[in-house]
């Protein structure tokens, strides 16, 4: 019975309740709605142009490059949160540490801007 006192009981309970409710809500129309599948209705929507090749397209570097840079800046955010929470305990020593950390990452950021990696045109 001690699991109920642990802070993760509400998390799991809330997840079960939400997941069940959302699945029911989005699945209800399947149960209640009429079933009349016609050929045209099932075709993927192409603004009326018959769809040529399979849906998947070629690679564009900018999308996955954004995701990669997102990981690296996300790690920075997590470490800065760690520093922010113990800001009072660490004092000026902590501020210089975090300043060094942000400075190193700023160099990387400037490199990205100079190298024009995130050109979106």
């Amino acid at each position: 019975m001690d699991f109920i006192a642990s802070p993760y009981f509400p998390v799991l309970l809330a997840f079960l309740v939400n997941a069940a409710m959302m699945t029911v809500v989005s699945g209800m129309a399947l149960v209640l709605g009429p079933k009349k599948p016609t050929k045209t209705k099932l075709e993927p929507y192409e603004c009326g142009i018959p769809s040529k090749d399979s849906a998947r397209t070629r690679i564009a570097a900018k999308y996955y490059l954004t995701a990669i840079l997102f990981i690296l800046f996300d790690i920075e955010t997590v470490f800065l949160y760690l520093w922010a929470i113990s800001f009072d305990k660490l004092g000026w020593f902590g501020v210089t540490e975090a300043g060094l950390f942000v400075a190193t990452l700023l160099v990387g950021y400037v490199y990205i801007i100079k190298r024009d990696a995130l050109r979106w045109e």
């Binding site: 070629r58 570097a61 690296l72």
Partner: protein
């Protein structure tokens, strides 16, 4: 009760792991891996590593797997091209079974040693969950100071590496 929930989630994570490495469709495997990471985050929480749990969801499930999903969506790999497994030569399989046996034996015998080697050198392990993050941070910024700065350099190296590889071969 907590041990039961921990065991249940652990076994669920293992089943998801086994299920995901035997998938043919990489997006299905990525989704299973994401749910695996979230279950592991709850396991960390039950082991009183609260900030590690949050960081696990934010970094692993929320950032690294996004690149996997983007890649799989864009690489446009037809499913039939993905062969199932490559258990061709038996030596590999025997090597793997050998590793499995060795690891399990080592783990079983090392449990006792782990407890004796570190007789509860409790630096800061509060049981009050509300102080976990603060103490982890305090410990990291004092004792592991140099590792923290090196993390910055590691991230820069990855950043520059990724940009160079992505921009390579930009002839047109």
């Amino acid at each position: 009760m907590t041990t039961f929930v921990f065991a249940f989630l652990g076994i669920l994570a293992l089943f998801l792991g086994v299920f995901l490495i035997t998938r043919r469709n990489p997006v299905a495997a990525a989704m299973l891996l994401i749910s695996d990471f979230v279950i592991l985050a709850v396991l960390y929480g039950l082991l009183d590593a609260h900030f590690a749990a949050a960081a696990q969801v934010i970094v692993y499930a929320g950032a690294i797997m996004v690149v996997f999903v983007f890649l799989i969506m864009m690489l446009n790999i037809p499913n039939e091209q993905i062969r199932f497994t490559r258990v061709t030569n038996i030596e590999w399989l025997l090597a793997f079974v050998g590793i499995v046996a060795a690891v399990i034996v080592a783990q079983a015998s090392s449990l006792g040693w782990l407890q004796t080697a570190f007789p509860n050198a409790a630096r800061i392990l509060p049981n009050a969950p509300s102080e976990n993050t603060r103490n982890v941070a305090a410990l990291m910024f004092t004792d592991y100071l140099w590792s923290f700065e090196l993390v910055g350099f590691l991230i820069i190296a990855a950043m520059i590496g990724a940009v160079v590889i992505a921009k390579q071969g930009r002839k047109h």
